[in-house]
């Protein structure tokens, strides 16, 4: 699903050049469930942004679902984001002025589907996350957990091949976090590739494969072999290289 070779991502300011990802290689197969861990500033979010075509990269090649996405224009990247990728964000990123139905509808609108087909998909997606009864509610009328479930419904409504979740449980209590992880597992069971960024080692253990990042480089080990110092992001906070992660 994801095949990155020698990816470079450099943030430049007037005086400083920060290598967020340097010579980065990553292979994630179709249907995998992968957790992405690492200390703050290790490049997790940068990797997620590059993988999700939210941000451009400066070198290397990236094959997404068999398609070379290294040199696409903005319109082509928008289409791939819309059709192949579902995003879940830490802060849910629901649109506060839209009700649940319209929020889940957003990616489908950009795909140009007919109203009937969209309604069917939206109802199915809300069924998966168990929120059909909240279809007319606005985000402000929902709990954090419910909002994230709406975000999950929005991510899956377009039946993407890849779900990218950036700290999807970061703003939730443990019970809610487990609920969301259950949902992601359920989605993965349906064949969708899921990649999550998390700081929570316990949640990370629920994914069969965990990837560790340090200073923009990959440490990809089977979970029983992971190095203890990299495991705790707080202890490894000194690795901050100025990136947003």
């Amino acid at each position: 699903m994801i095949n990155m070779q020698n990816i470079q991502k450099i943030y430049r300011t007037e005086h400083v050049e920060t290598h967020a990802l340097s010579g980065f290689n990553l292979n994630i197969g179709s249907g995998e469930f992968v957790s992405l861990m690492g200390p703050s500033g290790s490049g997790k979010t940068t990797l997620l942004n590059v993988a999700g075509l939210l941000d451009a990269f400066d070198g290397g090649s990236y094959i997404l679902d068999g398609e070379d996405v290294s040199r696409l224009n903005d319109r082509q990247m928008s289409r791939i984001r819309n059709e192949k990728i579902g995003f879940i964000f830490q802060s849910f990123n629901l649109i506060p002025d839209l009700n649940v139905f319209d929020n889940v509808d957003v990616p489908l609108r950009y795909r140009g589907l007919a109203a009937g087909a969209r309604r069917e998909r939206i109802e199915e997606a809300l069924e998966i996350v168990g929120l059909t009864s909240r279809i007319s509610h606005y985000p402000a009328q929902l709990s954090g957990g419910q909002q994230q479930r709406v975000a999950v419904a929005r991510a899956v409504v377009g039946t993407p091949k890849l779900i990218l979740a950036d700290e999807p449980t970061g703003n939730l209590d443990s019970a809610m976090a487990n609920e969301i992880m259950d949902l992601l597992e359920k989605i993965n069971d349906l064949g969708t590739t899921v990649v999550i960024v998390t700081h929570d080692p316990e949640l990370a253990t629920r994914s069969p494969r965990q990837i560790y990042l340090l200073d923009g480089r990959l440490v990809d080990l089977e979970k029983d072999e992971r190095p203890a110092p990299l495991y705790n992001p707080v202890e490894n906070g000194t690795a901050d290289n100025g990136m947003s992660a």
Partner: protein
């Protein structure tokens, strides 16, 4: 098209919606009524006067020499002035006249048909005492009867019967007022006392009197031209009709000519248009003020829309990034904001149309304002709609530059 979600989102977050909507509605109501008023005033100013207005010069001389106290001197000078003026290159014709049309200052009397009952109310009759060549100089169009003939200017013997009666020419409006059934030419008309009896010898299509802004005398269109020698020891006035394009050069030339002919008088030369602009000065000031108000209001409204839309874009930066992450192209983002603004402006215009009619109704009731024409309203609505859309373009373009990666920033 995302009309449904955009509308529902607007209804959920009403403050911005109502701010712009009411701004648009109030602007439309004020702008449409201002435009209605200023176009009505402008139309009044540009109304056909029946005169060859752009080519008419007015020469006003005020004597200060004792020689002007002699009537014979004044009449002889008047003839000489006219002879010289008529022979000046670029002059079509010239006449002497007692008062100036369109100037706000004139004379009026009363006339009624000679066979009308004595108790009947006469017609208010603004009149001009004019020399020969009057119709040709003024450029008025004779539609019935004849022009003045030489004999019409002969003074009657002092003390004779009907000494002051003359053969006169009326405007069509004056003829209609006196003889609604037509046939004015050849009819006798008299003043209220019956001691002056005039004979109508001709009718001209139209000529404005000295007070065209007044409702008196059929909005300035009732006029009687009476032949005579208008000059006096106090003032001698002439009107000169120039060939098209020659008026500017004649402007200075005739002043010198008058003083060459006879000194001992102050000569003032103005175009008839200048007299008219002076008479309409308050209306012209109002037109300029209202135009400024309209332009300012449109600019302020446009800036208001730009400001509110820009604020809305800034406020929704993360939301825009999220939309981009979910697959919106830059064009989708621009379209979203333009449609949103189009809706807000559209609803504002609908409310504005109601307000416009309401305001116009009140103005018609309490002020002398014409009923608004629907064409102004359509024009005003289109102007507001375009203003609204154009004002949203820059903020919408700015919104489209928000990067999708904003969605993952923990701001």
């Amino acid at each position: 098209m995302e009309l449904g979600p955009i509308f529902r989102a607007l209804m959920y977050n009403k403050s911005r919606f109502w701010l712009i909507t009411l701004e648009v509605a109030l602007t439309l109501a004020i702008v449409a009524n201002c435009v209605n008023l200023l176009l009505d005033t402008r139309r009044e100013f540009l109304r056909d006067t029946g005169l060859d207005e752009p080519n008419l010069l007015v020469i006003s001389t005020t004597p200060f020499d004792d020689a002007f106290d002699e009537d014979d001197f004044v009449h002889a000078l008047e003839e000489e002035d006219l002879r010289r003026l008529r022979s000046t290159p670029g002059v079509v014709d010239a006449m002497a006249i007692q008062q100036i049309p369109l100037s706000g200052g004139g004379s009026a009397t009363g006339r009624r048909p000679i066979d009308a009952p004595p108790e009947s109310e006469g017609t208010g009759m603004p009149y001009f005492r004019v020399s020969d060549h009057a119709l040709q100089t003024l450029g008025v169009e004779l539609t019935a009867g004849r022009d003045f003939a030489e004999g019409d200017f002969e003074e009657r013997e002092e003390g004779s019967e009907n000494e002051l009666g003359r053969n006169v020419i009326l405007t069509q409006a004056a003829a209609d007022a006196l003889f609604p059934d037509g046939g004015a030419v050849g009819q006798q008309i008299q003043n209220s006392g019956g001691e002056i009896v005039d004979v109508v010898v001709g009718v001209v299509r139209k000529m404005h009197n000295s007070w065209p802004r007044s409702e008196f005398a059929a909005n300035g269109e009732v006029v009687m031209l009476k032949p005579g020698s208008p000059g006096s020891a106090e003032r001698m006035r002439y009107m000169v009709r120039s060939e098209p394009g020659a008026i500017d050069s004649l402007y200075t030339e005739v002043e010198a000519l008058m003083l060459q002919t006879q000194s001992g008088r102050v000569v003032d030369v103005q175009t008839l248009t200048e007299y008219k602009e002076d008479y309409y000065s308050d209306a012209l000031v109002m037109i300029k003020m209202l135009t400024s108000v309209v332009v300012l209001l449109l600019v302020v409204t446009a800036l208001g829309i730009v400001g509110l839309t820009s604020f809305s874009v800034t406020q929704r930066t993360r939301q825009i990034g999220t939309r981009r992450a979910l697959g919106a192209t830059r064009t989708d983002i621009v379209r979203y904001f333009l449609i949103e603004n189009w809706m807000i402006t559209g609803i504002g215009i609908v409310i504005g149309i109601v307000l416009t009619y309401g305001l116009n109704y009140a103005l018609v009731q309490y002020a002398d304002v014409p009923t608004i024409e629907w064409t102004f309203l359509i024009g005003g609505a289109l102007a507001m709609w375009l203003t609204g859309i154009l004002a949203a373009v820059a903020p919408a373009l700015r919104a489209s530059t928000v990067a999708p990666e904003i969605a993952t920033r923990s701001v």
